[in-house]
Amino acid sequence: MLHSKIIDLKKEKIEVNKAEEFISSSKFGASLIFKGTVRETNENKKVTGITYDSHDAMVIKSFEEIYSEIDQKLKIKDKAVYIEHVKGYLGLGEISIIIAVACPHRAETYILSRYIIEEIKKRSPIWKKEHYENEDSEWLKGNPIQAN
């Protein structure tokens, strides 16, 4: 069971309680909610906020592909996965991504949550522009995405 969405901050908010509701089931004995948030420093620079950009269709496609590979790669069959990522401007401490997972047992939830965020970092076309205290801003260097 997968929920995946890009949250356009001009239109709506990202909300943890929705993630919790989605993964809640008596089938599962363990659940884990990962939140990525905006940090106040990066490489010794004082950050005031981040603008996120995304290629929405490709991001959703990448989330679906990551989810569909879990059975084979991690051998985790019973699971609920909720992934939302924002696009737009966020201030310090605000949530950029929620990955909520639920499985029958705790070990699977830790493996699954970690796997999903690491794959998103490698595969999902999302970009960050950091804004700094001196009013400069900069697109962060990332990793090139490769053709399959």
Binding site: S54, S96, I97, S124, P144, I145, N148
Partner: protein
């Protein structure tokens, strides 16, 4: 033939709009499209090396949201997305 290049991430600094448009006389590959974009940077941004590096390190995607190789041929009017190095989360 018209190619609409949709801009994402750092490539958004190439225009005030969300895209660049290229009018082409013949079929070209992605490799050749990259050269056209670099020419655009030479003409409009005095050859800004940072912009050129973004283009050189970017991938490209088709209208059906697949990453395409340098050899991919553009044969008709279409939208192509430029995908600079990624790093969300």
């Amino acid at each position: 033939m018209k190619v609409k290049l949709e801009l994402f991430g750092a490539s958004r600094d190439l225009s005030d709009k969300d895209f660049l448009e290229f009018n082409l006389e013949k079929k070209i590959s992605i490799k050749d499209l990259k050269k056209k974009i670099i020419n655009y940077v030479d003409q409009n941004f005095k050859g800004n090396e940072n912009f050129k590096k973004i283009i050189e390190t970017s991938s490209f995607c088709s209208e059906d949201n697949n990453i395409i190789s340098d050899n991919y041929k553009i044969t008709k009017d279409q939208k192509i997305g430029i995908i600079p190095p990624i790093g969300g989360g």
